[in-house]
Homo-oligomer: 333 residues x 2
């Protein structure tokens, strides 16, 4: 017996900003799961900025997507058939084969989840990869300490909004930047940021200086470019920069020059450290222990931008890179 | 009774490359040392690239030099009169009041040195600030490990030549860059570097790739600019960059754009860390314990470029910024 499904394939490698024509929606017939595999009906899939890098044919920390092959990424769904001991139909599992309605997943690569009343999408967001990115980036990479002033760029995004809130849970001062007045208001009014500004309103360096009269100690960088330069400029001695992403560069077709003030790294003894969430899986337990209760009690506010239907996933991804989302963007399948 | 002396003052703040007219040689009469002070006849003074930054009127990790005031910096000399308990005439002391023939030094700021047959200048070089910079930068900031491949830029300079040799003492593979064929030969023939290249011979990225087929794990950066970009490009995962100096930028009159490949910091989990030797004074003991014997036994090769006479100190400093020195540049007074 086979299962009809649909999947999104990479039709062309984007040049600059991805276009709808770079993607292809394809009908497929999935076989029954083989030994050790499960068949999952995906309920939600994730679209994430890092996927843009995988669309280039470049060596990176994850292999590039292949032309004519389905894309992949975080997804959650329900097991509908199992040949894997330990998972049975009805179980909800997290796995890495998104961008498709059904998936044949090696059971060992599927992680069973207890929803406990939460939407499955939460496990693609605040209690999933973006949450873990924020948690490990802030605490382990950024070495957050009591009394720190924290700056988060892309602060209305999935990772940024959690980084800021986790910093607030820890009692530190938090400043955020975002790209629309609505997002800026959301940061302060809903997420409890101490200060926020719209980076399109003027030079980042000036707005950041106004928001952080005592400088900053930790910069959680999702953006790079002008934001990174401004953060280096205003950082206090021994400041730490957790380099999580550079969304300002992702669609660039030419190399983008770096900040012109790197010399300050020396005098201020700054520490810039890149990180990838997949190295920090051991912290998922701590994330669930510390942040999970806050989520259930409503002390962590998280928004989702939910797009319905696999056929709209490419546009959702394109919109994500343009900053159209508030909070975690997911596609409901 | 007063002591006639001469000192170099900052006559004008250099714009770009310093000019002789930015300096002024002045005759002075020093009073007798007051309570707690010593009068020192300096035998050697240090000229160091970091002094260029202090000639600008800019906030930095050390206060700027003041117009019309004498410059200062590392020096070593003999106590000729003492009002400080614990130091007496004939003692050799290290202190921070260079750029002058005699100095009145607070006794608490003078460190007595046992020459043990070595030239006083050694304590301005391999067993002094440059040595400590190399030692702490490589081991503590760069976190050197067995099996690492180390790249040192400005490798024929005072700090670079020691960083490379300390890395060799620790048994790692070392690649160096310098700016003349003679310096390149010196690195390989005299200092034991595994590979070296002349950065003026072609793109640094290409030359570095040829010299480091397995990539690099630690970059000891004295130069910044194109060197930093090339190092980021070729670095292995979890690589560390000890940011010591950016001599390529020091004379710049306009901001210099940074490397265009900072995004690689994320994917490769790189760690860029700025440092200042004055934070690492506690390591001087370890430097003397580990490197001191190697110096006395001739296993550490160090060269000095010695310029004679205080009146030539400004030109020595100008030449230093142009790369005219091999090894530590000092002025004999």
């Amino acid at each position: 017996m086979s299962t009809p499904s649909r999947e999104i394939r990479l039709a062309a490698r984007p040049h600059g900003e991805p276009q709808p024509s770079d993607f292809e929606l394809v009908d497929v017939e999935l076989p029954d799961p083989g030994p050790g595999e499960v068949l999952v009906r995906n309920s939600y899939m994730s679209v994430d900025p890092y996927m843009r890098g995988r669309m280039n044919d470049a060596k990176s920390y994850v292999p590039p997507f292949q032309l004519g092959q389905p894309l992949d990424g975080g997804a959650i769904g329900e097991v509908v058939a199992s040949e894997f001991e330990g998972l049975e139909p009805g179980d909800v599992v997290l796995h890495g084969l998104g961008w498709r309605e059904h998936a044949i997943v090696p059971g060992a690569h599927a992680r069973k989840v207890d929803l406990d009343g939460l939407s499955p999408s939460v496990f693609l967001g605040v209690l999933g990869m973006p949450g873990l990115t924020a948690y490990a980036g802030l605490l382990d990479v950024g070495e957050l300490k009591d009394g720190d002033v924290v700056f988060v760029s892309g602060a209305a995004g999935a990772v940024g909004s959690l980084a800021g809130q986790i910093a607030k849970l820890r009692g530190t001062t938090v400043i955020g930047s975002a790209g629309t007045p609505e997002k800026v208001a959301h940061l302060v009014d809903d997420l409890g940021f101490d200060e926020a500004f719209n980076y399109k309103d003027g030079p980042v360096a000036e707005q950041l200086a106004a928001a952080a009269p005592d400088g900053i100690d930790v910069y959680f960088d999702n953006v790079g470019g002008e934001h990174l330069e401004a953060a280096i400029h205003i950082m206090n001695r021994d400041g730490r920069i957790a380099m999580c992403g550079m969304i300002s560069n992702y669609n660039a077709t030419e190399p983008v020059p770096g900040p012109d003030n790197l010399m300050q790294i020396i005098g201020k003894r700054l520490n810039l450290r890149g990180f990838i969430v997949s190295d920090h899986g051991a912290r998922l337990r701590d994330l669930h222990a510390e942040v999970g209760p806050a989520v259930r009690e409503g002390r962590i506010e998280f928004r989702e931008t939910v797009v319905e239907g696999l056929e709209h996933a490419p546009q959702a991804f394109i919109d994500l890179l343009r900053g159209a989302n508030v909070g975690k963007m997911v596609v409901k399948l």
